[in-house]
Structure formats: C-alpha cells, structure tokens
Symmetry: C2
C-alpha cells in the first residue's frame, strides 16, 4: 500500500495530491523502477474517492514518463525515470580539465571594441527632470490597448509560436505598415519591400551588412546619431562628416565626397532638429541618381508634427530606387516592443530579407501582432493625436518659460519630433558647464554628445543644449527651465 | 446647431457617437477652424442626455487636438487640425526627381550574397509526413501555459514597454536560465554572463562579430549545421572542416589545424546525431586551454535524452574559460518565441553585451516574461517530461518499423534529441534517390543537405538519411517508413 496522505481541505486538488505524492515516492526511490502501483480501483476504494480522480493522476504520471502500463499487467514504475534524462550524470563531473596557469596560452583577441558605446543603465538616482531626447513618458503608454491587442494575439499562438515563419515579418503587419506609410509619408510601397526588424537598430545593421566593408566611405551628418555612427564604424566604415545647417544637411558637400552611401535624418535632424527642405531633398535624390549612391533615410520620430504638415519623405519623392527607409514604433508606442522596419528599394529587398534571416531567423510574434492591432484598427492614429497634444503642451510650456527668462531664442527643431535644440546666447556659459551645474537641482539637460550624438567638430558642440520634452509634464519642463535660469543668473 | 444623429439602440455608446460625428464634421470641413461648438449643457438639453456624456465626448476631442478651449470662451475647433500634421502635404509631391535612364549610374554593389541560403517557405502543398529535423508538433505546443504567462506578462507592461532596459536580457530570465543550466547542464554560471538573444541564430552572429574578420579560420564539424557555417562565412571566415565519427568530432584533427575558434554540437551532433564522448570533451578542452582557442558549444536540442542521463556540457567541464555556450527554447517550447541565449566566459561577457546592444538594443519583453514563467514555476521541466515521452513513442514506433522492413540498422543519434541518422545498407539506392521517390507517397525524408547541414564532402552525404521525428505521431512515422519500404522494394 502506498503511504499517501490526502487532504480534502487542501488547496491542491486530490488528483494533483496523488500525482505529486506518488511522483515524490518514485523520485526519492521509495517506490522503485518496475514496482507495480495499486490498481486505480483499489486506490479509489482505499481513500473513498472517485476512480476517475485516480485515473487522472495516473494519466498524468504516465504522460510524464514516471510510470508505464503494459496490456493486462497494470501500471508499474518506469525503468528509466525522466529525471535521469533531464539532469546530468554527476559522475561525468569528476576530473574536469583544470586551468593550468603555466601551460595556458593567451586567448584569441576579440576584434571588436566600442569604448564609445555607453550602455544605458537604469539609474535609480537619475534626476527627476531629464530632458533626454526620444524618451516616452510611461504615463502616456497605451497600456489598455496593448493589453487588448495582446489578449487577441494570445488567442492564435499555436502555429506561429511553434514554427519558423514570416522571416521578414508578419504578412499583415508588413501590409499595415505599407498602408500607414502611404498616408503618413507619401510612400507607395509593396508590402514585399518591407522587412520588420528589432527596432531601427537592427535595420542599421542590415544596411551595414549590405554595403560596408573595411574602408567603405559613409557620408553622415555632423553631428550624427551616435548609434548609427557606431554601427557603421563597427563594420569598418570610414565616416565622412557633412555639415548641417538650419535647412538640414548641406547637399553640395555630399556631392564633393566620393561616398556612395549617405545616412540622413531629414524629418528632424538628430540632434539639431533641422528639417531638410524640399529643394535639398530633390538635390539629394538627384545626387543619388547620378552617382548610383544609396541614401539611408532614418525617419525615427516623424510621427509628431506640430505646426505644419510633414514634407514628403525622401523615399516618397524617390523615383530612382535610391532610398532605404527606416522607421520604428519606438517613439510612437514604445521601444520595449522592439518593432522597427526597413523599406528596401526593389533591387535590394531579397538580399535584405536574407540578411535579416541570417541575423535572427525572424521576429517575435506577439509584439508584431500588437502593433498590427494598432495600425489596422486606427487606434494608432488616435494614440498619436492624443500624444501629440501632450507633447505640444509641454513644448509650449518649455518655450514660454525659456522666452520669459532669456528673451529671443535661437531654437531649432521645434516644429516636430520630441526634442529641440537651443543655441546659447554668447553671454551664457558653455553647454557642458550649464549641464553640469543644473544637476544640483535634480535637472538634466544635454549637450550634443550627452544627448546621444556623435560630433565630428560641429559648430553646435559647445554652445547648444538639447531639450527632449516628450517624457515631461508642462510643470516639470517649466521647473527644469527655471533651474537653468538659476544657474546662469549673473550676480 | 450641429447636425448630429444619435441612435440609442446603436452598439456604439452615445459618447462615442458624439465624438465620432463631430470629428467627421471637423475633418470634412463642415465645421471650420475657429468655429465655436455648442455648450455641453445646450447639447445635453437638445438630445435629452446626461451632460457628463457630452463632457466626455468633448474631452475626447480635446485630448486629440480637434478642439481647443479658452477660459470663459467655450470650446472652438482647433486652428491646426491633427490630420494636417499626421498626413503629408500633397503639394510637396509635385515634380519628384524622376528616374533618367540615360544619366542613371550603376548602383553601389552589395557586398553580401548567400546563394546557399534557402529561405524556408510555408508550402501549403508540403508532404503530410515530413521527417524534417528540429520541428515541433504544434499539437505539443503548451498553448494554455503560454497564455497564462502571457496574461501575467501583460499586467506589468507600462515601464518595460515604454523604455529601453535590460539590454542583455531581463534580469529574472537571466537568473532563471542560470539556475536551469546548473541542474540540467552542470554549469555554474553567474546571471551576468548570460546574454539573451533572438534564438541561437543571433548568438552565432554575436560570436562571429567577436572574432571573425576576413580569412579568420573557424574549425567546424563535417557535416556541419548549415546556418552556422553561413553566418561564419558571411563574416569572412575560412572554414576548416573536421571529420565526425560515431563518437563525435575527431579531436586530433582539430589540434592539427591552426584554427583558434571551433564550432561544435557535442550533445547531439548536427546532423549525424553523435554524442561527443567524455574523453573527447576533455581532449577538446585541453586543446582550447593549450592553444588559447575558444569553443562554441551549440546545445540546440539537449533537452531530450531518452536512454541515459546527459553528459556534462563542455561549458560545465571547462575550467579555463574557453567555452561560449549557446542554448535556446526553440526546441523545447517553440521557435516563434525567438528566445535563445549565449553564456560567455567572464573575459568576453561585457563585449558580448555591447555587441548585442549594437545589434538590437535589447530583446522583446513579453516573450522573455513568458519563458521566465515556465522556468520559475517548474512547468518547463514538466513540459519537457511530457514532450520527451511523446517523442520517445514516435522514435520507438519509427525504429520498430524500420527494423521490421530492413533488419539490423546502422543508426546514429537515437539516444537523444529530435532526429537520428540512418546510414543505408549497400543494397539500397542513394539517399537522394530514395528521398525523391518517396515524395509520391506524401512523405519527405531528408539527405544530409536537405536536412539543413553543410557537407564538405563527408562519408555520410550520399548514403545517410536524416529522420526528424519530433513533429510526427507514431502512426505518421510508421506510415513514412512503410513508404520508404515500398520505394526501395526489389521486384
């Protein structure tokens, strides 16, 4: 008779008590391999419970391999327990190959290093008011909608989660992105040209692997999104910095380089905030057409326009298949979804999909479904409208308070996006000094470089501050500006 | 008065009807910017509804930027509508830069091509019974548990989805993986050494970026997991193939190469199924210690052992920090989760995290939480026990039927994993001929190469068939073997 103790008042069901206790007896070796278990009928009688309960517990043990049945012979403990096949044989542990300091050779050196790459850390002592660009206020995150689409996504998971499929992205998501780009960015693209990626970050790697080998020239804005410069550099690129003025990148300089790949942020130059004019867009496209170059258009925060409709994207204006367009939902929904995308010219699409496949064998399913839910239902646009309103309020509060303290301002990039640049009047100290001093008030403002840009010696580096305002309330923004006024006040 | 038509019997709430109809009037230009809306009180009286309902609808319009309020002046239509800032200005579309075939230059060539890489496609006409290795039967996918952990994950999404964090993987997941590896693979590792990746695929790219530049030698098994060879090759590696026999990779050959990076699948060599003996494991580790080389241990399907406990992993035996261990849940839970991991030796961990960051800026949150749920609750082991039992049944059915038809068999790799290799007796035709012929019966069996391996001219290429059995029922497996018997029968 098995030493079982069933407790009818316990939280665990009788079935799971029988399963658990017999399993324990088997694992502990009290009941040994080959031993027969009592019949389900006998056990049911012994404890005065339904036979079906015992049957269910035995089935459970059977399904996990603890017991076996043979026709007409009842149920016995398995000869080879699952535990033995799931945990390693401790006898193999003896006599490991010990490290021998004497005979030990220098390890192969790694070929890769990025002292520049500062890993963002969660700093619990971070300043309360941080004007870091591109951040989302968690209070604005659409929790309930994500939960709703997440629930929907969890309904049909059996096939998509148990197989490799849709390596370039879910078909419905690629189509939804194509439709979104048509209305919002003036692009007419086939879903087949879209590769869903793990954020713009992965897309930058895909483009790098398309073109960049050691010494390959890449023209970049100066200053430039640091993460892009790091990715290009890590693939061996030689960067050719191009000046940026109030109208965006200076196109004549691009033409003078021999570079045949250009990285730009035309909607809202990172970090200066400049919008590339329509004339320059045309000039850039002409350059690309005439030289056979490709343009990488990073459209990271184009979803937010405040004072005017957006210009058509380079990709929308392009008629010579010269633009590789990168987009993301990191700035509209949230970066934790890790959903971005790359739109390839037709000639590059298949290779881009192959590189994507080579990198990660497809994307996570649930987040793709969630983003599809937003795009297909129209709640994406609705969410953008709501958020845009909030950002606009914070921006205006910030600009108003800046003007109160400092009078007329040299501001760039306020019409769109999630940050703007203020070039300091000459009577004020340098950007880095102000940035340092203001921290005593629990406020963080950023220089070009601390904002996440690579500066190759631009006129903005020392005299400009970057104000990301998307994660702040109007009051927080005003408080931050007041702190700057305090640390810059002349006695 | 606004021309609204409210329908109390409609599915939509009154509040959403008011919102929707006023929004429509604004967007269509019927109600123009600057026009005042009726007071909420007046509208409530007009339709005989609660004033709170009207207030809620107005708030909605306000929150999306369609209307504005000014102190004491009521509510008017916004001067700048959100639509104008969310859709592009059509006037910018005129005169795009047209393609000019004459002036158009050759495009920059891409540097990357993989004619070898066959993208898996969803073939609706695929054979019913496919012995492809590594596939999961969707019927075995733990839908309800994933849903349960998915629901849990959706509860706390606000912060993790609205920010970049845990770039090397969720802290609880890294710890849970460390604990799992301790009991199941004999590894004592700190969570800090674990980098969560988008499957083993991404981990292979990370290792490649650590070491491989053009001409760098990588020793690989022959035959070798094709995807690994492709990744190494795409980074410029020169592959040095090493023979594989019934005991796994032939270690003396490794020592004779000048390679200082080796890729192996010791638990269940892909595709031959050999388990690397303990003696050879020690010899390999000694080689790595003495030459300063690193060993990449790809432990893709070590979760399934049938007849004996698993040997300790190379990483578990290693005392000279020479092993980079790669694991995945693709074979235990499902590949659609896209969760794998890399365990780095301490000296490489920080660089590995930097490369991971550079590639994708972190991992998707929801799937990481779901996998954590399995590992922390013990349901992971329970699921493995259940699945192992099913795979064992199919394997035994298949082996039984093979023996019935063909007598004594030259089988490798049956003790573990999800596939085995059968080397054909000489009276039978070549593997590729059998594989072709059996398709007429709706059955697919694989040669070394169609199974997804790169063969550098091994003795197995022409005479061995690979049988993945993890996605089949015992009956399907028997049916498949019967079909082989039919097409190989002598008249």
């Amino acid at each position: 008779m098995l030493p079982l103790e069933l407790d009818r008042n316990a939280q665990a069901t009788l079935q799971s008590q029988i399963y658990g206790q017999i399993r324990r007896l088997i694992v502990d070796g009290v009941v040994r391999p080959g031993m027969e278990l009592p019949s389900t009928r006998a056990l049911a009688v012994q404890f005065g419970i339904a036979r079906n309960t015992v049957l269910a517990a035995y089935d459970w043990l059977l399904s996990e391999g603890y017991v076996e049945t043979s026709q007409g012979l009842g149920t016995h403990v398995s000869w080879r327990l699952p535990e033995e096949c799931l945990t390693i044989d401790p006898s193999t542990e003896s006599d490991p190959v010990h490290s021998d300091r004497q005979g030990r050779r220098e390890k192969v050196p790694t070929i890769w290093d990025t002292p520049d790459l500062v890993l963002p850390e969660i700093d619990e002592n971070a300043p309360k008011v941080d004007f870091a660009p591109g951040k989302i206020n968690p209070d604005c995150f659409p929790v309930r909608l994500v939960q709703r689409y997440g629930q929907d996504a969890l309904q049909g998971i059996r096939k998509p989660l148990s197989s490799y499929r849709d390596l370039a992205g879910l078909a419905i998501l690629r189509q939804a992105i194509a439709d979104h780009l048509s209305t919002s960015r003036g692009m007419r693209v086939e879903a087949e040209l879209i590769v869903v990626t793990c954020g713009i970050q992965e897309a930058l790697n895909i483009v790098s692997r398309l073109f960049i080998s050691a010494g390959f020239k890449v023209a970049v804005e100066n200053p430039c999104y640091q993460s892009a410069a790091l990715v290009f550099g890590s693939h061996g690129a030689t960067m050719v910095p191009i000046d940026v003025d109030a109208d965006g990148i200076v196109v004549e300089q691009v033409a003078r380089t021999k570079a045949r790949l250009l990285y730009v942020t035309p909607s809202h130059q990172f970090p200066t905030g400049a919008t590339l004019t329509l004339q320059r867009r045309r000039d850039l496209l002409r350059w690309a057409r005439d030289t056979g170059a490709y343009i990488i258009e990073d459209d990271y925060d184009s979803d937010y326009r405040y004072d005017s409709p957006p210009l058509m994207s380079l990709a929308g204006l392009d008629r010579s298949d010269s633009v590789i367009y990168l987009g993301t939902v990191s700035k509209s929904l949230g970066p934790g979804l890790r959903i971005g995308y790359l739109v390839a010219p037709p000639a590059l699409a298949e290779t881009a999909v192959r590189i994507k496949t080579m990198q990660t064998l497809g994307n996570q399913y649930l987040e793709q479904k969630i983003v599809s839910g937003f795009l297909l239902s129209g709640t994406y646009q609705r969410h953008l409208r709501r958020i845009r309103k909030l950002y606009l309020e914070t921006r205006d509060a910030m600009l108003g308070r800046l003007a109160e303290h400092f009078g007329p301002l040299d501001i760039r990039g306020k019409d769109s996006g999630m940050h703007l640049m203020w070039t300091l009047p000459c009577e004020l100290d340098d950007a880095s000094a102000i940035s340092k001093r203001v921290r005593q008030y629990g406020v963080q403002v950023h220089t070009i470089e601390s904002a996440g840009a690579k500066d190759f010696g631009s006129p903005y580096r020392d005299r400009s501050l970057i104000f990301g305002y998307s994660s702040l309330t109007p009051d927080e923004a005003r408080m931050g500006i007041d702190a700057i006024a305090k640390v810059t006040a002349r006695p």
